[in-house]
């Protein structure tokens, strides 16, 4: 690039240099000689990379473990406990019989102080909400548009009862969870906030504001909860939470939030209605109260995994360092190269 040109020739020279640069680039591209970085796994590189990763992972692991351990969780399995003694032998008969009262009161002890909000979940095990037939058995269009949308073939057998269509149709809605819980600390009932438990996008865009339950649970087989036909689907948060199918056979779903603090050693009484039938497939039900941290609920796995992986990286880094110090190899030595070829030269 020469200095001191007039503007006209400067523009000309610029366009020339632009085409030169472009053809230079094309030349490099077609001749496969682009400027390149060729990383090589040299010992210094390896040791430093492993060390750096280890050094990053260990504090992250400690942070995650700390977050997980700061969460206080109370889980109580009640499906067997809540069956009165005479019916323990024939659970199915118990659960199917509407005349047997399903009330049950259990006491939970709070191990450490729990700060509001405290999340209340119900946990189901051995319940394959991710089974293909089950997942298919719903109609998203009907959930959004209601009776206007007639084609609900996928919902069989829960699509038409007594000649009339069912809203919401399908097995997923039909099997909705219907145990209820209320919590007491002494005589004072803890207020459980049942609003805002579903995802906002589901409430606003997947369930219609003008769709009402119709002909629901009217058949001979009752699968779960009944729905109030006067509340539109977008406000039926329990249904929305239930309809968001889970990934694994053991899952929790949000029931509500307790907005008060609980102190250590408090005794919480849970008055629940044991309506839901998990006995016919040896499932189990649990009631869970849990606080949350920035990372979520109580699961030490992430923290422990980070710590293990981080420490193994550091261990390997040291191992390599030791081995390299013991056995230094010079790479400028070309005889080293010819040695390596003996084993492929035959």
């Amino acid at each position: 690039m020469e200095e001191g040109r007039s503007t006209a020739s400067a523009i000309e020279a610029d366009s020339v240099s632009l085409s030169q640069r472009r053809s230079n680039f094309i030349y490099q591209f077609t001749q496969q000689s682009l400027p390149a970085c060729k990383p090589v796994l040299s010992p210094v590189w390896v040791v430093s990379v492993f060390f750096v990763v280890g050094v990053i992972f260990i504090p992250v692991g400690i942070g995650c473990l700390h977050a997980s351990r700061s969460v206080v969780e109370i889980a109580y399995r009640y499906d067997v406990e809540c069956i009165p003694a005479p019916f323990r032998g024939n659970k199915l008969a118990y659960i199917a019989n509407d005349f047997i009262p399903k009330n049950c009161t259990k006491h939970l002890k709070v191990p450490r102080s729990m700060k509001a909000p405290i999340y209340v979940y119900y946990q189901l095990d051995n319940y394959y909400q991710n089974h293909r037939r089950y997942v298919k058995s719903r109609s998203d269009r009907q959930l959004l548009h209601g009776l206007e949308y007639p084609d609900i073939g996928l919902c069989t057998p829960e699509d038409v009862i007594n000649g009339l269509p069912v809203v919401p149709c399908g097995l997923v809605a039909w099997s909705m969870f219907n145990d209820t819980f209320s919590f007491f600390r002494g005589v004072h009932e803890l207020n459980v906030n049942r609003k805002n438990i579903a995802w906002k996008s589901d409430r606003d865009h997947k369930f219609g504001k003008h769709v009402f339950p119709f002909n629901f649970q009217n058949g001979s087989l009752i699968g779960g909860a009944r729905l109030d036909p006067n509340i539109p689907l977008s406000d039926q948060e329990d249904l929305i939470v239930w309809m968001r199918t889970s990934a694994l056979p053991s899952f929790r779903k949000l029931y509500g939030r307790i907005e008060e603090d609980l102190d250590a050693d408090d005794t919480i009484s849970v008055k629940l209605l044991n309506n839901y039938n998990t006995y016919s497939f040896s499932g189990s039900k649990k009631i869970v109260l849990s606080t949350s941290s920035w990372l979520g609920g109580h699961n030490n796995f992430l923290g422990i995994a980070y710590l293990s992986i981080g420490s193994s990286f550091i261990f390997v880094a040291f191992l390599f360092l030791m081995l390299h110090i013991q056995n230094p190899r010079s790479y400028v030595d070309t005889s080293n190269i010819s040695w390596n070829w003996k084993h492929i030269s035959d």
Binding site: Q28, Q31, Q32, S33, P35, A36, C37, K38, P39, V40, L41, V46, F50, V53, V60, C64, E73, P117, Y119, Y121, Y128, N130, H131, R132, L144, W199, S201, H205, K206, R244, T245, S246, A247, L248, P249, F251, R252, L254, R257, S290, S292, S293, W294, L295, G296, G297, F301, L302, A305, Y306, I309, F320, L323, Y331, V332, I337, N340, W341, I344, S345
Partner: protein, 573 residues
């Protein structure tokens, strides 16, 4: 003849009756083309009197055979005219009393760079045969000139120019000649094999030289096996006086007999058969016309460019393709097996773990471009070093990079990755909340979580496997990962009736969750750990030749550690 069109030939003839020159057109009906086996050419014409005439010309030996019995009268006179003695007598009268002007010599030079090229290719483990139409002395001289033959090499010569055979040929008995020739060739091959066995273990094997006549007996009389056995044990083979057909037949013999890959290089029309017969045909375009180049797989301008074609591009191509195939298996196994492990937790009902569109786009958008970048652009060693170290080429000859242990190793890597991805994601997100607001992991979130881990893992695996990072590799690898998130955003913005389980899953559920990002980082690093360990141990303690070359290249580069700017010259000088 004064005019010739496609259909007519016009001759100006002397009419017998009027003794005048008249023009007579002949209608051209058919041409029987010349061929080297027939050695004649004929045309069929119709003259003005509506007679059909066949006019034929060819070499004298061939035409005399075809004369009818009653036209022998001109034969003797014509043969007299063609007789050598008369021609010699005529030439002798003319070529007298000459003035000496000087002396000339013709040096048919080899192209520049041919000896060096051949030496490099021999160092690379490639056996070189010369099949030429020249006579034996010329071929041997060429062999010495391009260092195929060396002073200390013994030469095994198989020829039918011995006195006994020539005697028999003079006698004219074809059967006896054939029998004796076959005997002679078989004997010579046997002698050559005996000589060879006495050379076992010595560094310099002898060279084999065979002429075209012997070659025709070898190829037609079931002597191929012994000939091939002798020939492949020799350092180099020169076939002289070969016809184009023999060139092709020898190539086929080597190809089928040894089962190795053959490459034929030639520059003339007589090499076309050989070029097409070989696995790879390289045509040199230029002096002798374009026919060789047009019938070849690769066309180059000079012989010495073969060096670069094989040692640089051949070497790279082998590496790229074997690496690409192994990687393809790996990435699809890593992806597919996560679906399989998920089925174990969905009671094998066939429910896929991911949204349909994620799965459809996996091989198209999120993991395809890096593979293409690998298969087209990867370079393990710079061109200069490829040319300096021809021994690197042996990696390809011995198929080291695409052996069963390697393929199975990559498949195992894929399975391990899928196991780590699935079990780490499901163990970290069992049923507890994954965000500060108490929400739990559901089917949609787990799908995105696992899929992001898979996409990150296979792309980072690519990043640590390739040896050559230009801006393009950076763009496609990190771009593919970024494109996944962009896709998720765009797809999630579509109405829920279309995007079903992906509706706003990233924006609302996964994106704001630190657990999601920390989990992804953990899974990706854990998946890559086995491969990193393997590679480090292998390069450190059991380096393969190209690893050593790479390290050597890096240590002796200009002081910038970790980067090497290569602006190689285009052709080797």
């Amino acid at each position: 003849m004064y005019e010739r069109t496609q259909s007519h030939i016009s001759l100006r003839e002397l009419d017998h009756e009027s003794h005048q020159k008249i023009d007579r057109p002949y209608e051209l009906l058919h041409v029987l083309e010349f061929s080297s086996s027939r050695r004649r050419m004929s045309v069929i014409v119709r003259n003005v009197e509506n007679q059909l005439l066949l006019l034929s010309k060819g070499s004298d030996s061939v035409m005399l055979e075809r004369l009818s019995k009653n036209s022998q009268d001109f034969v003797a006179v014509t043969m007299d005219h063609v007789k050598d003695a008369l021609i010699e007598a005529a030439a002798d009268e003319i070529e007298r009393d000459l003035i000496l002007l000087g002396a000339t010599a013709v040096e048919d030079k080899l192209q520049i760079g041919v000896p060096e090229c051949i030496e490099k290719l021999e160092n690379a483990g490639i056996k070189i045969w010369v099949i030429t139409g020249d006579k034996m002395e010329t071929a041997i001289n060429i062999g010495y000139a391009c260092s195929l033959l060396r002073e200390d090499m013994e030469q095994i010569v198989i020829t039918l120019d011995s006195p006994e055979i020539i005697e028999l040929e003079k006698k004219g008995d074809k059967e006896a000649v054939a029998k004796a020739s076959r005997e002679s060739v078989a004997n010579q091959i046997r002698r050559g094999t005996l000589l060879l066995s006495s050379y076992e273990g010595r560094s310099v094997s002898p060279a084999l030289i065979i002429d075209g006549k012997s070659l025709s007996f070898v190829l037609s009389q079931n002597l191929e096996g012994s000939f091939l056995h002798l020939a492949v044990s020799c350092a180099s083979v020169i076939c002289c006086r070969s016809t184009p057909k023999q060139k092709a037949l020898v190539t086929r013999l080597v190809k089928k007999g040894t089962g190795r890959t053959t490459l034929a290089i030639g520059d003339g029309a007589n090499d076309v058969g050989m070029l097409q017969e070989a696995d790879i045909g390289v045509g040199i375009s230029g002096v002798e016309g374009m026919q060789a180049a047009m019938s070849s797989d690769f066309a180059i301008a000079q012989f010495r460019f073969l060096e670069r074609l094989l040692l640089v591009h051949g070497h790279w191509c082998y590496r790229r393709i074997s690496m690409m195939v192994c990687y393809f298996f790996y990435k699809n196994i890593a992806f597919g097996f996560t679906l399989f492990w998920f089925e174990a937790y969905a009671s094998f009902s066939g429910q896929p773990a991911y949204n349909d569109w994620y799965m459809s786009c996996y091989n198209v958008f999120f993991t395809s471009l890096p593979v293409i970048a690998l298969g087209v652009f990867d370079q393990d060693v710079s061109p200069r070093l490829c040319l300096m170290n021809p021994e690197l080429y042996k990696e390809g000859i011995q198929d080291i990079l695409f052996s069963w242990p390697r393929i199975l190793g990559w498949i195992l890597n894929g399975i391990i990755c899928s196991v780590v991805v699935f079990f780490f994601t499901t163990s970290s997100a069992v049923h507890q909340a994954f965000r500060g607001d108490g929400r739990v992991v559901d089917f949609e979130v787990l799908g995105v979580y696992m899929y992001s881990c898979v996409v990150w893992t296979v792309n980072c695996q690519m990043a640590i496997s390739i040896n050559y990072f230009t801006w393009m590799q950076h763009l496609v690898i990190w771009g593919s990962i970024a494109f996944w998130y962009a896709f998720l955003l765009i797809y999630g913005a579509f109405p829920p009736l279309f995007s079903t389980t992906a509706y706003q899953v990233f924006v609302e559920a996964c994106g704001p969750s630190p657990f999601f990002w920390l989990g992804t980082m953990l899974v990706v690093v854990s998946c890559l750990l086995p491969y990193l360990l393997y590679r480090t141990v292998q390069t450190e303690f059991f380096p393969m030749p190209h690893d050593s070359i790479q390290k050597w290249q890096r240590e002796t580069s200009d002081g910038r550690r970790g980067k090497l700017r290569e602006k190689d010259t285009l052709l080797c000088k």
